[in-house]
């Protein structure tokens, strides 16, 4: 019964994909005059530009071929404007991971403090409420001015956008640890530090992990926009560069790759959160 419904879901998924590809294929068929373009010229200036400024929407076959090409040689490096998609993704992932880990290092201890102490909570709450709704990209000019480095600024933007969900979830998780469990630790005369590590942390861990999962999602959303602004390297810059090249096929390939990587990041965090979850 369960197996059958799973199979049906798979079939339905495939059917949706197939029909989407079919519609896409039908809609883009016959457009553009790629056959007339001189191959050498095309290689020099890019497919779309070679077609004379027209930007024919590529069909699924072409995008598929493009992605296949990218995956064949993801790490080539032919100068600042032509790097393999693997290198670009690696740059983006690197920035995301540094900013994200820095945010975790700040957010989890501070969230702990906020969750443990109502005074700290009341003192910091106004700042959190004001800072949280600011679009992370609004920090970019300020970051560029003070940090004087585009890459570091992008990392800072990732830091600032991923800090809030982790901070708020940690504080919430810590504050809502069952009083019973804390009483157990108290009646056993367990020190405050040990209680924090052996009772509060595992009790709040699932909530903290939820915050971390939200944060990694937001960080991955923001890095693309940030790299479009800072330029140079990264998958966001790649997308913008391909827009300047009018290579729609590359843009679509990059979009799909961004989605895949985002999905993998989320799956990774989901697996980690399963490790710390518990049933009451």
């Amino acid at each position: 019964m369960h197996d059958r419904s799973r199979w049906r879901a798979w079939l339905l998924s495939l059917a949706i994909l197939a029909s989407a590809l079919l519609v896409w294929h039908a809609a883009t068929r016959g457009e553009g005059g790629q056959a007339t373009v001189d191959a050498e010229y095309a290689a020099l200036v890019g497919q779309a530009a070679a077609a004379g400024g027209q930007t024919p929407m590529p069909g699924p076959m072409e995008v598929g071929r493009q992605i296949w090409q990218h995956l064949q040689d993801p790490f080539y490096d032919r100068g600042p404007n032509d790097k393999g998609v693997g290198i670009q993704l690696a740059y983006s992932l690197g920035r995301v991971l540094i900013g994200y880990l820095a945010a975790a290092l700040v957010a989890i201890p501070v969230g702990f403090l906020i969750g443990m102490s109502p005074t700290v909570h009341r003192a910091l709450d106004p700042y959190i409420q004001v800072l949280k709704p600011i679009s992370p990209l609004a920090w970019m000019p300020l970051a560029l001015y003070t940090l004087r480095d585009a890459g570091v600024s992008a990392v800072f933007v990732i830091f600032i956008c991923s800090v809030w969900p982790m901070l708020i979830n940690t504080a919430f998780g810590v504050a809502s640890v069952r009083q019973d469990w804390l009483n157990v630790a108290r009646t056993l005369e367990v020190s405050r530090l040990r209680t924090a590590f052996y009772v509060v942390l595992p009790a709040a861990a699932p909530t903290i992990m939820t915050g971390m999962r939200i944060s990694i999602g937001i960080a991955w959303l923001v890095i693309v926009a940030a790299e479009m602004l800072i330029g140079g390297t990264g998958i966001g810059y790649f997308v913008w560069n391909e827009w300047n090249n009018l290579s729609i096929a590359n843009i679509i390939s990059a979009i799909l790759l961004i989605g895949m990587v985002g999905m993998l990041l989320d799956a990774l965090l989901a697996r980690l959160s399963r490790l710390v979850s518990y049933k009451e």
Binding site: V184, R186, T187, L188
Partner: protein, 282 residues
Amino acid sequence: MDRHASNRKKALLMRPFVEVQSLAKRYPGRDGRLGPPVFENVSFGIGRGEFVCVIGHSGCGKSTILNILAGIDRATEGVVIMDGREVVGPSLERGVVFQAHALLPWLTALQNVEFGVRARWPQFTRAQVREHSVRYLDMVGLGRALDKRPAELSGGMKQRVGIARAFAIQPKMLLLDEPFGALDALTRGTIQDELRQIVHATGQTVFMITHDVDEAILLADRILLMSAGPHARIAETVVVKLARNRTRSSLHHDPSYYEIRNHLVDFLVLRAGHPPTQENQA
């Protein structure tokens, strides 16, 4: 019977092991000023090795009294003295079995007990901690469920782990807050018998809260009856003069059992100063 009489005489001569002196608890109202006391003038003693039960309606502050004895809560007035020292905070000298078992759900049964044992004897090696904890889980019949997490245990087994955790730290006094309230009647009966045996064998001093009249008669040497709150107090103390080795199966053959039972039920229904509710007629 004779032993009880001499025990009581001794208790009168000596200061009891635990002395509770004119305890009162008031909570601040909306305006921030203290409201009327939930209970007041609560005084009693507990002898070493004695099993004392408190019975009373919901809201009379039984749990608060237990928490004050545990050192988790503070009394507005009055003091608790145990073994000559005032109770000012939680201590490993008093083990608590919580109402809702309060096991840490991410730890196994064994780890839950070990958590307390390690706190009690920090100098123990890992093997010693384990050996000691296993012994107490064996005592409550959970020797085969060491590595199960609380979610995989039945309600009765969870409460047994809670009991093992409290016993394992070898406290001078054991505090039980309606430990069997959430269990079905059959399981409750089994664990009551077990608890009775363990307490009997170890000579443990116990203070227990219960809603269940039969449970109190089965387990307690002395039963404190509390009137309803606010202004709750200990209205009466009933000494249970039944054989110390009584069991659930022999209890109802003792003629004085019904005498005590009727007395307690009458108190709860008629004299506790609270309209009778179904819960208490049970």
